[in-house]
Amino acid sequence: MIPATLSYRRASSVDEALGMLAEHGEDAKLLAGGHSLLPLMKLRLAAPEVVVDIGRIEELRYVRTEGDVVAIGAMTRHHDLHTDGVAGREVPLVAHVAGEVGDPQVRHRGTIGGSLAHGDPAADLPAAVLACDATLVARGPDGAREIPAAEFFAGLFTTALGPDEILTEIRVPRAADRGWGFEKFTRRRFDWSIVGVAVLGGSPTQPAVGLVNMGEAPIRATAVERALAAGATPAEAAEHAAEGTSPPDEPHASAGYRRHLATVLTARALERAAGGSPAGL
C-alpha cells in the first residue's frame, strides 16, 4: 500500500517545526515515529499534503526529574522510556505501559508524544497518563501551555491540540511510593487492547483508574474511583468499571464482552496495585 503523494519537510527544532505548521496550516501533519500516522496514510485514511518530520528533534528526547514530576520529552521512544532508569523508578506505571505498546519493532520507532497526540482510544499510554494525572505541554505560536491529561483527550482521534501546536512534553507526578497495575487483553501479543486498565494505587489519595478502548476517547473509570472513595473493596469497586462507558461493538469483541472484560481486568489491576497477585494468574 502506497501513501498519497506528499511534500516532506524536516524540522530540526521545535521553533522550525512551528514555522512549518504556521506556513502550511491544516494541510500539514506532524510525523514523529510514524507508527500511528503511516498506517493511516497507507490506507489513505489520512492524506496530508505536507508531512513535517519532527522525529529528529533531539531536544524533545529526554526523561528527567524536575521537582515533583518526571518530565518526558515527547519524542522519547517507547523502548527508551520503558528501559529508562529514572522512569522505571519514579513513574513505573508509565514506564511499564511503554513496554506493553505493540511489539519490539513498534517500540523502537513509536514515541509517547505521537501516541498521545494521535488520540486513539485503543492505545495504552493515554490510559496510563490519565491514571497518573499527568500534564501535557503544548507549544504553539503564542508560546507554551499546559493541558491536564483529563482535558486532553476530546474524542475519537481528537485532542485538545490545535493544528498549529506541537505536544512537547509529558509531565508525570513522581509516584515511586505508589503501587500500580496494568492489565490488557489482546488476541495476539502485539494487538491493540480489546480492553486495558491502568491503575495508579492508593496513597496518598484514592487509586486512579484509566481505561483503554472503552469509549470514543481514553477515559477514567470514575465510577470505580467513587466506589473506592466510599469504602468499597477493590472487587466491589471493579464491578462498576463499565459504568458510563460506551465501548466499541465490533466482530472481534462485542460491547457487552468488553464491559465484562473491563470489570475483570479492573479487579486484577486494582489487586496488583495494592501489592497482591490476582488469583488464577
Binding site: 502506497i2 506528499l6 516532506y8 510514524g34 507508527h35 503511516l38 519490539p104
Partner: protein, 163 residues
C-alpha cells in the same frame, strides 16, 4: 513530483538515491536497491516479515519512509553472512528446521540477530518475547525458537574460543 535525496548506509555500504518522499523503506530496499530478501507480508505493521535492523534495532520497514532513514544505518538479511560463511542465526534456522515456506524467515532472523547482540544468553521466554512482533503463518514457532537458541549457543561457544 517532489524528490528527496536519501543517503543511507545499507549493509555497511553507502547508498544514495533520489526518491519520492512517500516511498516506504521496504520498497526502497527492494525496488531501488534490489535487496529482495526483505519481504513485504501484511503491509500493515503486523507480521514483521519486512523487519530490518535500523541503527542496530529491529524495525518494520513497511512503516517507515525511506526519507526517515536518511543518514542512518540499515542492515538487511543480505548483509548478515560474511563471504561464504552463514551467520550463526542462519545456520541455526538450517540446523533446527526453523523455516517451512520461508516467507517470514528473513524478518525472524533480523529480529533474532539483534536480540543476540543485546543478550547473548537468552532464555526461551526472552526469545519468544523478542519475536512477539514476527508472525509465522506456517506456525513453526517451536523450531524458530529452537533455531535462535541454537544460534545463541553457537555464538557463545565461538566467543569462548576467541577468548
Amino acid at each position: 513530483m517532489e524528490e528527496r535525496r536519501v543517503n543511507v548506509t545499507v549493509n555497511g555500504e553507502p547508498k544514495v538515491a533520489d526518491v519520492e518522499p512517500r516511498m516506504l523503506l521496504a520498497h526502497f530496499l527492494r525496488e531501488v536497491l534490489g535487496l529482495t530478501g526483505t519481504h513485504i507480508g501484511c503491509d500493515t505493521t503486523n507480521c514483521g516479515a519486512c523487519t530490518v535492523n535500523f541503527d542496530g534495532k529491529p524495525i518494520k520497514s513497511c512503516t517507515m519512509f525511506a526519507v526517515q532513514a536518511d543518514g542512518h544505518e540499515v542492515e538487511t538479511v543480505e548483509g548478515i553472512s560474511r563471504a561464504s560463511e552463514l551467520h550463526a542465526v542462519q545456520e541455526g534456522f538450517k540446523e533446527e528446521h526453523g523455516l517451512q515456506c520461508g516467507f517470514c524467515t528473513s524478518g525472524m532472523m533480523m529480529t533474532a540477530k539483534a536480540l543476540l547482540e543485546e543478550n547473548p544468553n537468552p532464555t526461551e521466554e526472552d526469545v519468544r518475547w523478542a519475536l512477539s512482533g514476527n508472525l509465522c503463518r506456517c506456525t513453526g514457532y517451536q523450531n524458530i525458537v529452537k533455531s535462535v537458541l541454537w544460534a545463541a549457543e553457537k555464538m557463545r561457544s565461538e566467543a569462548a574460543v576467541r577468548r
